[in-house]
């Protein structure tokens, strides 16, 4: 349904050293992309607690992105590996919550990949537009509060 008018609301957690710099490069290179994302700067993708993601969906985000340095390039040695492992589990947990796992995107964007950043964001936005709005999941509260411990054991 490409002609849908639905504008997904996206929260993007970007690591300060690679992805956030990549987003800046997209700006300095004037590469346009879908405006739906709202960026929250974090020091490292490893800083992103699965709790944040759940809270985001809970508060009505239609999609969440976690972007970090490419594996091997982490400014903090291996933070992005932790993130990768953690969110692999997270995807399963989302399914359990009844949230389409495609609504959570984990990807790597380096400081040199402004163009790629724009592509990743626009593509994710397009995909969410197709998935449509995420209905509130407050009913899952219990599951949510018991969740962080479960997922953090990476």
């Amino acid at each position: 349904m490409p002609e849908t008018v639905f504008e997904p609301r996206i929260v993007g957690f970007l690591c300060n050293w690679c992805s956030y710099a990549g987003a800046n490069l997209a700006g300095t290179s004037r590469i346009q992309y879908a405006p739906n994302i709202r960026i929250i700067r974090v020091p490292c993708s490893g800083r992103v607690d699965p709790l944040f993601v759940v809270k985001a969906f809970q508060s009505g985000a239609d999609g969440v992105m976690v972007l970090g340095c490419h594996p091997g390039d982490c400014h903090y040695r291996d933070g992005n590996y932790h993130a990768r492992r953690r969110f692999a589990l997270m995807h399963r947990f989302l399914n359990f919550l009844g949230i389409d796992e495609r609504r959570l995107k984990i990807d790597w964007v380096s400081a040199a990949e402004g163009k790629r950043f724009a592509q990743v964001v626009s593509e994710f936005t397009r995909q969410l537009a197709e998935l449509g709005p995420l209905s509130a999941i407050s009913g899952q509260q219990a599951a949510v509060s018991s969740q962080p411990a479960a997922v953090s054991q990476t």
Binding site: C18, N24, P35, P43, G60, A111, S152, Q153
Partner: protein, 674 residues
């Protein structure tokens, strides 16, 4: 309640053109705890900063949001500004409405809407800001320079001359690098060795420089001001303290037929060798894979008499030691300069050029060795196949440059110039030589460069043919080069006695490995990323690690030297401080609630988490702020959520989402903050 001041910047038209800055300021101004909001043409300007400082005093603000460019651009600027107005530098949040909004969203309605959100989020985050105080850390007043090429040499000398101790690590047997292989240098044509060797000896004799050749950096720990580095010293099998460099061993070694790395395969060397006569240090090294004595020891380490051993027999000082073992030393440094240089593209990838298939197709660096008076042919240019002097030579530019197909779409920058140099030198060697240069564009930006190219064409009669060569093949006793003269739109066939491939510049094959050891980032090719391509061109994105030369990207000698001096200056600036300010945004553990599971300890990349026993006997985690770099891994894995990363606390991050998302559809200012 917080007293927040919001300052929206036009950045000339950079922001104002696609964001209604006035509207943004008004909208955010309505937030309950935003007591002052305004907009101004250039916030980073002197009057702009003054405007902020005045507002802080006038409205006694305790938190400031500057909506302008990226924090990586101007956080320091504004942090300084509010400090001068009496606030803690960390009571500032920057809302990035330029790079991440006005520059990427041309629609003004959309831009304004998004900018408003971004500022809201920043304001929300400041509510949780608290004064932070970076702790002071000591500085080890020593510098490590990795790589003994001209860049490394220059950096080492500059630092050493400033009275600071330097360790220069070079993995080959001698310093000198690529420049030592060259015959002449463009555009002045002064002899490369003549200007380089004095610097090399200066390094060897400098009281402040410790030179480790045949050594490699293995591991790097610690952080700016306090690096701890493991350096591997490979066995040279010659005791440098005894060797006088007389060179007797070189002549006595019976195994002389090995290809010389330094001569790029154009010459031969013995199993015990010195890459070139002016090598520094002038101490030979034995190639363990080819030395009979060492091989015999490998077969049987116990044997007391080795095979061959001629070098030892004839060494007047008995400096040869076949039983030498590798050693690893660990040293402390305050700053590191990476100058590990570049490698050259392997043209065998182009089957159509026949490199490796036809002896008379060689690379430019091989030609340098043939031209060099100290080279394998004593400076006589003889083609490999039959040793004849070539009368017609074809140069192919952009071999491994500007070529998508071989994964090298970038320009190597120096090939145009060194090829012109080669054409000129050939004519100098033999006035009867006709040179042809197949080029795509001549890139000669630089002092005296374009003039140099013109000379090659006008004075030395070099024929420049614009077009990329498709094939090179032998016919009779010459090579045929198939090209198009794209200016005339006609196929050209050049019969050449010698074909020279101007191979492009690429990173060292192990550049990425080196980068990982240092914990710095690199691009898709393996070139190291500068922390800012324009404003921090010699700094990596890790504090205390500086860059010089072709490790960043292709460049010529003067540029490399200039960069080396720049990197040296940066290193000295850092080392001249008695102490450094550490990371202020570090983690702290609320030990009252810590369950002592130590998940944090398990993930901390810097081993900054320590186990302590509290007064009541409970075991709890504690963060060593000197080691903590503020990645926040611990905070995100802590099951009890009792670890806080200052500056990026859970509350600060969640608050940003809340203002953004709760009550879908409605604008945030309609609701009170949490």
């Amino acid at each position: 309640m917080a007293r927040i001041g919001v300052f929206v910047c036009h950045c000339g038209s950079n922001i104002a053109a696609t964001v209604d800055v006035k509207k943004v300021a008004e909208t955010v101004g309505q937030l309950p705890d935003v007591v002052y909001a305004t907009n101004y043409m250039f916030m980073c300007s002197e009057p702009g900063q003054k405007l902020i400082q005045d507002a802080i005093r006038e409205h006694n603000l305790d938190r400031v949001v500057v909506a302008a460019c990226s924090p990586t651009m101007h956080f320091r600027t504004f942090s300084g500004a509010i400090q001068r107005a009496g606030l803690n530098g960390y009571m500032l949040e920057m809302a990035n409405i330029r790079e991440q909004c006005s520059w990427v969203h041309p629609d003004k309605a959309v831009g304004t809407d998004k900018a408003t959100d971004i500022v809201m989020m920043a304001a929300a985050k400041t509510r949780w800001s608290e004064p932070l105080f970076p702790r002071e850390i000591g500085v080890t007043r020593r510098a490590l320079v990795i790589g003994g090429g001209i860049a490394g040499i220059q950096a080492a000398l500059d630092i050493a001359n400033a009275g600071v101790e330097v360790v220069l690590v070079e993995r080959s047997p001698s310093i000198g690098g690529r420049m030592a292989q060259l015959d002449k240098t463009f555009p002045t044509l002064d002899c490369s060795g003549c200007i380089l060797t004095p610097r090399m000896t200066e390094v060897a004799q400098h009281p402040n420089i410790t030179l480790y050749t045949w050594s490699e950096v293995q591991a790097v720990r610690g952080f700016v001001g306090n690096f701890e580095v493991d350096i591997l010293h490979k066995p040279r099998y010659v005791d440098a303290s005894l060797c006088t460099g007389c060179g007797e061993c070189l002549t006595r070694c019976p195994w002389k037929k090995f290809t010389s790395e330094f001569d790029e395969g154009m010459g031969r060397r013995a199993a015990i060798y010195r890459p070139f006569p002016q090598a520094v240090p002038n101490v030979p090294v034995i190639d363990a894979e080819q030395c009979q004595a060492i091989l015999s020891l490998r077969e049987n380490p116990e044997r007391d008499k080795v095979r061959c051993g001629a070098c030892l027999k004839f060494c007047p000082r008995k400096a040869v030691d076949f039983r030498q073992q590798p050693t690893v030393g660990t040293e402390k440094f305050g700053a590191i300069v990476l100058a590990n240089g570049y490698s050259l593209f392997d043209p065998a990838v182009y089957g159509e050029y026949g490199y490796g298939r036809y002896p008379d197709v060689i690379t430019s660096i091989q030609l340098e060795r043939l031209m060099n008076a100290a080279g394998p042919t004593g400076g006589e240019i003889r083609r490999p196949s039959d040793g004849h002097h070539p009368r017609s030579v074809a140069f192919l530019a952009c071999v491994g440059s500007r070529d998508q197909r071989v994964g090298r779409p970038y320009c190597s920058k120096i090939c145009c110039m060194y090829t012109a140099k080669h054409a000129i030198m050939l004519k100098e060697h033999d006035p009867h030589v006709q040179s042809y240069v197949f080029y795509m564009d001549v890139r000669a930006g630089g002092k005296g460069y374009e003039e140099f190219i013109r000379r090659a064409q006008e004075e030395y009669g070099t024929a420049y043919l614009r077009g990329r060569v498709s094939k090179v093949y032998p016919e009779g006793d010459h090579m045929v080069v198939m090209g198009e003269d794209t200016l005339l739109g006609m196929p050209v066939r050049v019969e050449a006695d010698l074909v020279v491939l101007a191979t492009g510049v690429q990173p060292q094959p192990d550049a990425d490995a080196m980068a990982r050891i240092l914990g710095i980032s690199y691009d898709g090719y393996g070139f190291i990323n500068e922390s800012h391509p324009k404003l921090n061109p010699v700094e990596s994105n890790t504090a205390g690690i500086l860059l010089a030369g072709c490790t960043i990207g292709p460049k010529d000698i003067p540029e490399s030297v200039a960069q080396a001096s720049a990197a040296a200056a940066k290193a000295l600036g850092l080392l001249s401080q008695p102490t450094l300010l550490g990371e202020a945004m570090t983690s702290w553990v609320n030990q009252a609630r810590c369950a002592g599971c130590f998940s944090c300890e398990a993930v901390c990349p810097y081993h900054a988490v320590e186990r302590v026993t509290l007064r009541d006997g409970r075991r709890a985690a504690q963060v060593n702020e000197g080691l903590c770099k503020g990645c926040g891994l611990c905070a995100s894995v802590c099951p009890g959520k009792v670890i806080t990363l200052r500056g990026f606390s859970d509350q600060a991050l969640l608050e940003q989402m809340n203002v953004l998302l709760l009550q879908p559809g409605e604008r945030i200012y309609a609701r009170n903050s949490l």
